[in-house]
């Protein structure tokens, strides 16, 4: 069965410091991974997906199949990055349909 693990419930860094939110997955198929973010009083929304290989708001994430990881990184954290971050794994649920398995989330706090 597929599983997504985010080992840190809470992560606190200072503004300007590098930040890395860890995500590990287990899945026998070809993985497709996402990071979702929920800012205070806002909807849960997609931050980035590995297939796009793009940087969003300064964040990047590289899929490492050898380590089964998809860690989210930003070289210089900003206070507005404070939010709950969820790593998610897309799993085929039949035909061309998919469902997401989410990790338990990491609450990032960026202190001034």
């Amino acid at each position: 069965a597929q599983r997504v693990t985010q080992p840190e419930k809470l992560l606190s860094v200072f503004k300007g410091a590098p930040v890395e939110l860890k995500c590990n997955y287990s899945y026998s198929g070809s993985p497709e991974l996402f990071w979702y973010v929920q800012y205070s009083r806002q909807r849960l929304q997609l931050l980035l997906r590995h297939i796009s290989r793009e940087s969003i708001k300064g964040f990047t994430a590289d899929l490492n199949k050898g380590e089964t990881s998809f860690h989210l990184k930003k070289p210089f954290a900003q206070e507005e990055d404070s939010a709950m971050y969820y790593c998610a794994l897309s799993v085929r649920s039949g035909g061309s349909n998919y469902k997401l398995t989410f990790g338990k989330g990491t609450l990032l706090t960026v202190n001034p």
């Binding site: 909807r43 929304q45 469902k99 997401l100 989410f102 990790g103």
Partner: protein, 112 residues
């Protein structure tokens, strides 16, 4: 553009009472629809998903049920609420051929 609505935003119900939460999507056809429960420290738990009218898949056996009476309407129900049903319920949709999910604003349910 597509939008997703949920109501009510907040609900306080006594134990043993029935429940009906509604989710509707606008601006797209035949979406995949999802119900999640979000709990602190437990992340996002997929409850139900639907790939079409009348088609419901249950992920976790529990006191809740889901129905999809129309293409863009997804309803979460219970005949008798339990205290443990309290939580934050999120509805989401995705295109049938893609995996990115778009989330609604959520409903906070408190069972007393």
């Amino acid at each position: 553009s597509q939008t997703i609505h949920q109501w009510p935003a907040t609900l306080v119900q006594p134990v043993g009472s029935p429940l009906s939460l509604e989710c509707t999507v606008e601006g797209t056809s035949n979406p995949n629809l999802y119900w999640y429960r979000q709990a602190a420290g437990r992340g996002l738990q997929l409850l139900f998903y639907s790939v079409g009218i009348g088609q419901i898949s249950s992920e976790v056996p529990q006191n809740l049920s889901a129905s999809r009476p129309q293409d863009r309407q997804f309803i979460l129900s219970s005949k008798k609420l339990l205290l443990s049903d309290s939580g934050f319920y999120l509805c989401a949709w995705s295109l049938t051929f893609g995996e990115t999910q778009y989330f609604g604003p959520g409903t906070r349910l408190l069972v007393l």
